[in-house]
């Protein structure tokens, strides 16, 4: 265990340089059925003005790790270990009061279901103005003006009148915009977007992704973008982190991960989505099986029950020994296959299938 931790921190970029740095993050929930190891040994960095895309299936720990960054977990049944540093400040050691000052101010979050995340009882304008008043001490009138300005920035027509509307009077895409306005009202340095486009139509999704990119260019916000859609990742992310069963299995630049994936799970994801311009006669290659339960994850590599390439690894290392996140062919991946094997599988089997 200790050797493993060492190897993982050794491959990580040096701490301190990044704006947000997460080191060996562990999140555990106590439940009636036992302890859920939701996030294990997660390490990543995010620079200012960059976007990190986190990909994974439901239950892979992608949302939980970001709730931990925001300090939004239930402290009664959650234990968090490791370190989270935002701009030099240790978030895990910070008091609730300090966190309250950061949330909505320095870091903000956008949720998937905007209707559930907005209060039906207050007007949109009031919900946008509230964090601004709290963090800057602005008056009601100033905050209202700010809310109108934010609504205009996110592209809501007639912001002067819409500011007094209630969430149910907005359409899905407009609610998502209102929530983005709410998150950005204090010009946060870090924006966590948890599947912000999953519930939206493609045309609206494209609008929201463009909006986030524009806003990022204007204000230099760092964004963590959580999604399961590799197409959206391609649109917005600079770096990509692929998570499986609570662990990072792959980390690298967007181009590296999407073009030269070095992990069987990444290959599976890439070959299981139909492409808009691929041949239609080739059947999709699904990943067999289902994601594991985090109550009782498989021994060794968590992906081994679904992996098609574990015979290539000598011995039973896949089922006994957890592969470390190590550098192979250009980016980090956690797999026992040798770099040469990965490269040959990638070029001989995966890439031809993708471009057929």
């Amino acid at each position: 265990m200790s050797t493993l931790t060492q190897s993982e921190s050794a491959t990580a970029p040096q701490a301190g340089a990044a704006f947000l740095s997460v080191r060996d993050l562990q999140v555990r929930f106590r439940t009636e059925d036992g302890i859920v190891k939701a996030v294990n040994n997660l390490t990543f960095d995010l620079e200012k003005g960059k976007t990190l895309g986190i990909v994974g299936e439901s239950g892979s720990g992608k949302s939980v790790s970001n709730l931990a960054v925001m300090g939004l977990h239930n402290p009664r049944n959650t234990t968090i270990e490791g370190s989270i540093n935002l701009d030099g400040q240790d978030l895990l050691a910070a008091s609730q009061k300090d966190m309250e000052k950061l949330r909505g101010n320095k870091m903000a979050m956008i949720f998937q279901d905007a209707l559930a995340a907005l209060s039906p009882y207050y007007t949109i304008g009031r919900q946008i103005a509230e964090p601004f008043m709290k963090h800057t001490g602005a008056s009601k009138r100033e905050a209202r003006a700010r809310a109108i300005e934010m609504l205009r920035r996110v592209g809501i027509p007639q912001p002067q009148t819409r500011v007094d509307d209630f969430p149910h009077q907005f359409s899905g895409g407009m609610r998502q915009r209102a929530m983005i306005a709410m998150a950005l009202v204090c010009d946060p340095d870090l924006l966590i977007a948890d599947e912000p486009t999953t519930a939206l139509d493609v045309t609206v999704q494209a609008q929201i992704v463009d909006l986030l990119k524009d806003l990022q260019q204007e204000s230099g916000t760092s964004i963590i973008f959580i999604t399961h859609d590799l197409g959206v990742i391609r649109e917005i992310a600079d770096d990509v982190l692929v998570m499986y069963a609570g662990r990072a299995v792959e980390r690298g630049t967007m181009r590296e991960v999407l073009k030269r994936s070095q992990h069987p799970y990444g290959w599976g994801l890439l070959s299981s989505i139909p492409r808009i311009n691929a041949s239609v006669d080739v059947p999709l290659e699904p990943i067999p099986g289902t994601p594991p339960s985090l109550l009782n994850p498989p021994a060794g590599c968590a992906f081994n029950p679904r992996c098609a390439y574990k015979e290539l690894v000598t011995g039973d290392r896949c089922t006994t020994e957890r592969p470390p996140l190590a550098m192979a062919n250009g980016h980090l991946s956690a797999c026992h296959l040798t770099p040469a094997q990965k490269q040959s599988i990638l070029t001989e089997q995966i890439l031809p299938r993708l471009s057929s």
Binding site: E57, S58, G155, P157, S171, G172, G173, M174, D201, V202, T203, V204, Q205, A206, Q207, V209, D210, H228, D229, L230, G231, V232, I233, R234, E235, M254, R255, L258, K259, G268, L269, L270, S271, S272, I273, P274, R275, I276, N277, A278, S279, V280, P283, L284, E285, P286, I287, P288, T290, P291, L354, S355
Partner: protein, 366 residues
Amino acid sequence: MSAEQTLSKSQGPATTPGQVLLEVDGLTKHFPVMGGFPFKRQVGAVQAVDNVSFTVSAGESLGLVGESGCGKSTTGRLVTRLYEPTAGSIRYNGLDISHAGRKELAPIRSEIQMIFQDPYSSLNPRHTVGTIITNPMEINGINPPGGRDARAKELLEIVGLNPEHFNRFPHEFSGGQRQRIGVARALSLNPKLIVADEPVSALDVSIQAQVVNLLQELQREMGIAFVFIAHDLSIVRHFSQRVAVMYLGKIVEIADRDSLYNRPRHPYTHALLSAAPDADPDNASQERIRLTGDVPSPLNPPSGCRFRTRCWKATEKCATEEPPLIQLSSSAPGHLTACHYPEDGITPAARKAAADALPEPRDAQD
């Protein structure tokens, strides 16, 4: 669209591929909106589906794509006659079922089955998997050789589940497995047409491909026709031979797969295609068409062309005159478009490829 159809009964000869199985003509569904006090009366109508016509041949898969609220699910439910149409006709195997009663529908119901989007709410939590699958057979009086239970186990195997799971309850299964149970239930009556309403959108990415492949195998091996409803353009393209694009209750474009995806004529189809995210970083980002705003309310749809409020080509004519769904010159046969100012039918990607004069094996195949 041959008008003469032999009125084959449900037990009649098997439909041959290419024969028109389902014929929908001018289908309309308006949901009344009630209001007023103290006496409720109709104050308006949600025009969910308006004058929609299409055909589905035996063994064929027709994809219905569009944004939420465009009426694609309502169309699916009208075809299965879960809703009563306001106007128009639905002919199944030559038989008009648009206003057929319970008794008339009974033999046809077993031939048109449905797969629902949400595998969590479409299975009765108090029934075992066995009951869920055998119930339709019992209701329709189907007695397969070897008994219903044996047939149910066989079906479980066909959809890739363990027959031993016969006595389990739905909550013991994952989302993908539940969707397979829904497929097995639909198959239990040997349907000729399955309406699949967003069958994979509630599933994880790695599971979606499993279900899509399963449905495709069934289509190929059993010759079942599909009406495949989805909002994901790439999945529809993968699954359906013909695709209809819907916008605000109307079909704006319908064509063969290759023709629609390679030579779309309607501006909305163009916008949809350019908004679909592509995971390949090397596919040069096409000039994306940014549609502004949202879909207007179907309660009070725009006059003339319903897309005109978001269309960059709209003129006076679009507001006053509704474009008919017609075959445009220089479109492939069977490619119908409803637009006054159609695009030249070349996607920006294809145009770029032509400009680069690079041999594109993909496009050549399509």
